[in-house]
């Protein structure tokens, strides 16, 4: 059989599987319609976010080596929910956010210490800027809370130091004395008040030298000493960002999983009803038979992805910034999931058994891949295991081409992993199929 005839046979098998899928209304619904509803639901409900509180990883760029900055970063690292990854440059930190390795990047500016020093005289604390991953908004809320708490602790620590506080008071006295819009009588009142504070500080200095506790920090509970200026990653780029851009990748991957579930039973059905015997007794190779089925699954996966993408682009104004990269991501994702499909499809003997087994494995893959439980919430070893799930990599690849501005080089990792998963699945599945049909 020549190459063209071989391709025709492969295409004939693929077309048959697709036709059968489309005629099974329930399977077609769960393959093509359900993922759309899923993505829309999460788009509306969570704005693409969703997540529990747990250990979250952030990148920190420490440009100020002063004691306040040192204390801030040290305390940040001690926070139970936060894992600090120190990096040298803002670009590197932002790259980690883009890749999804960390939730956010925080920059401790060179003026951090000065910001604290001038807090009373200017009324404004230091500015801490950062970039956030918008797909993890729940975690961002937690991070903001923790940063404010830490900033307060740092400030309190600074002013519990009596010498530092006296230095602050001297600056305030000087500012009041020079202020033209304060009446002299009020300047006297301020002076008396500051003198009393000076007395307290002298007493505190004495208590500090005697090793006794001081109580100044506790009086500052309402301060917001650090101004957090955190912005979402995608907003660095041109074009709109909306919740559906964030929920779409998850919807797409659930759609891919629907395809896998629908197709995983086809081989077992063929085996059960005897059509596999007819396919295998035809002048085609076993690789062509399984290739035809893989092709059907691949085309179905591509269709699901692009129906979703185009629908979201038209209805919800999802901006397709990198169509070429998105094309690559969808091809790699479809390929990976077809590999998984092939592997699962050769394991079942009956259609029902295969479908049940496939659903179970896919659900586990979704779970460990972050489809149901955020990865950051998992123990460390489970986070490592999650890298084996195509769910994680497919979401990352699609996000990378949709709103997470990853460079071509950065996209190589998720694309490569997806291609690897697909190739391994197809190869093992093909070998197992060949062995099982060569009795």
């Amino acid at each position: 059989m020549g190459t063209i005839a071989g391709m025709s046979a492969l295409w004939a098998i693929a077309r048959t599987d697709l036709r059968i899928l489309l005629r099974d209304k329930a399977a077609a619904f769960f393959t093509f319609v359900f993922p759309i509803l899923f993505a829309m639901f999460f788009g509306f409900m969570f704005g693409g976010g969703g997540g529990e509180r747990g250990k979250i990883e952030i990148a920190v760029v420490q440009q100020d080596k002063g004691p306040a900055a040192e204390a801030f970063v040290r305390d940040l690292g001690k926070t139970p929910e936060i894992l600090v990854k120190k990096v040298e440059t803002e670009a590197e930190a932002e790259r980690l956010v883009r890749k999804g390795d960390v939730l956010a990047s925080i920059v401790i500016p060179p003026t951090f210490q000065k910001g604290f020093d001038d807090l009373f005289s200017t009324g404004k604390g230091p500015v801490v800027a950062g970039v956030l991953d918008p797909s993890r908004k729940a975690e961002v809320g937690l991070l903001e809370g923790r940063l404010n708490e830490l900033a307060f602790r740092t400030m309190a620590g600074t002013f519990q130091n009596a010498a530092g506080m006296k230095k602050q008071l001297a600056k305030v006295r000087e500012a009041i004395a020079k202020a033209p819009d304060i009446e002299n009588s009020r300047k006297i009142l301020f002076g008396a008040a500051l003198q009393n504070l000076d007395t307290i500080l002298n007493d505190n200095e004495k208590r500090e030298s005697e090793g006794k506790p001081t109580d100044l920090g506790g009086a500052m509970a309402e301060f917001r000493p650090v101004q957090l200026e955190l912005k979402e990653l995608a907003r660095d780029r041109s074009g709109p960002t909306n919740a559906f851009e964030v929920s779409l990748p998850q919807g797409i991957v659930w759609g891919l999983m629907g395809c896998v579930t629908a197709f995983v039973a086809t081989l077992a059905h063929d085996r059960q009803r005897g059509t596999l015997v007819r396919l295998l007794s035809a002048p085609v190779t076993r690789w062509q038979v399984i290739g035809g089925k893989a092709l059907a699954g691949f085309l179905s996966c591509m269709l699901v992805q692009w129906v979703l993408i185009l629908l979201f682009a038209l209805l919800f104004k999802v901006h397709l910034r990198e169509p070429m990269m998105l094309g690559l991501a969808t091809v790699a994702s479809a390929y990976a999931f077809v590999g998984v499909m092939m592997l699962l499809s050769v394991m079942g003997r009956s259609g029902e058994g295969s479908a049940g087994f496939g659903r179970a494995v896919i659900l586990v893959m979704a779970m460990i891949g972050g489809g149901t439980i955020p990865i950051f919430f998992m123990p460390k070893f489970m986070q490592a295991v999650s890298s084996a799930s195509p769910f994680k990599w497919a979401v990352l690849a699609i996000e990378g081409s949709l709103w997470r501005p990853m460079t071509g080089t950065e996209m190589l990792l998720p694309l490569g992993v997806l291609v690897g998963i697909g190739t391994v699945g197809l190869w093992i599945g093909g070998m197992m199929f060949r062995r099982s049909t060569m009795s």
């Binding site: 059989m1 005839a5 004939a12 048959t16 059968i20 007794s281 009795s439």
Partner: protein
Amino acid sequence: MLRLTNLRKTYGELVAVDGVSLHVRRGEVFGLLGPNGAGKSTTIGMCVGLVRPDSGEVNVDGVGSPMRHEVRAHLGVAPQALAIYDDLTGFENLRLFGGLYGLRGSALEERVQRVLDLVGLLARGNDRAGGYSGGMKRRLNLAAALVHDPPLLLLDEPTAGVDPQSRNNILDTVRELSKAGRTVIYTTHYMEEAQRVCDRVGIIDKGRLLCVGTVDELVREHGGKSQLRIERGEKSERLETADPVREIARVLGDGGVTGVHIDRPDLESVFLTLTGRSLRD
């Protein structure tokens, strides 16, 4: 057309086929007759390249082993299980299977129409196979084996579980194929079918081919004697004879005979003689 040489296949401890050698001649309908589990389907599986023999070989029409996919282009197979897609129409099923054998375009359409007509399903060709009766599905299963007009057909229990009308259609179709010069291997456990359509029959049991020959040859060699029942009024007597015609003439000459019944040996008798069991055991 098809030569099997000392084929053997085991599954663990079970010997499914044990040293089967056979030569099926071009243009004949060869029946492989045996009870369920005798090794018929395994033998067919080896003939079409689905089952790899432990030893021995299968040679198709001098072109080689059916383990090579290009050799399988010479074969048409109707498996015992209904190997059709219920979700596809009769036409779609045949287009798919014809396409797998390299048929395209008008040649494919012409063959699809022709075989559907041959099995009496042309009028239902646009209906999904899932809506067919069991007999119609069997006929479509046969049509799928014929669509590429193969010179060698392997029909594994093609009438299993069908109504008399469909059975007659299938048996008539097999005879027509034989007249058209096709070689057919036909497995069955119905001796009536084997007697009706097969030029030669091989009896297989427990994986071993016990004998091969025309029905008459087998009956003559292994069927035993005919049984005569002679009725004389209220009385009847039974006689066993190798030459029933001569014996009837002799009995009629004696006079007083009111009825004669003759039970000739058949393939069932042959099987009983060879195995000590009935075909339907």
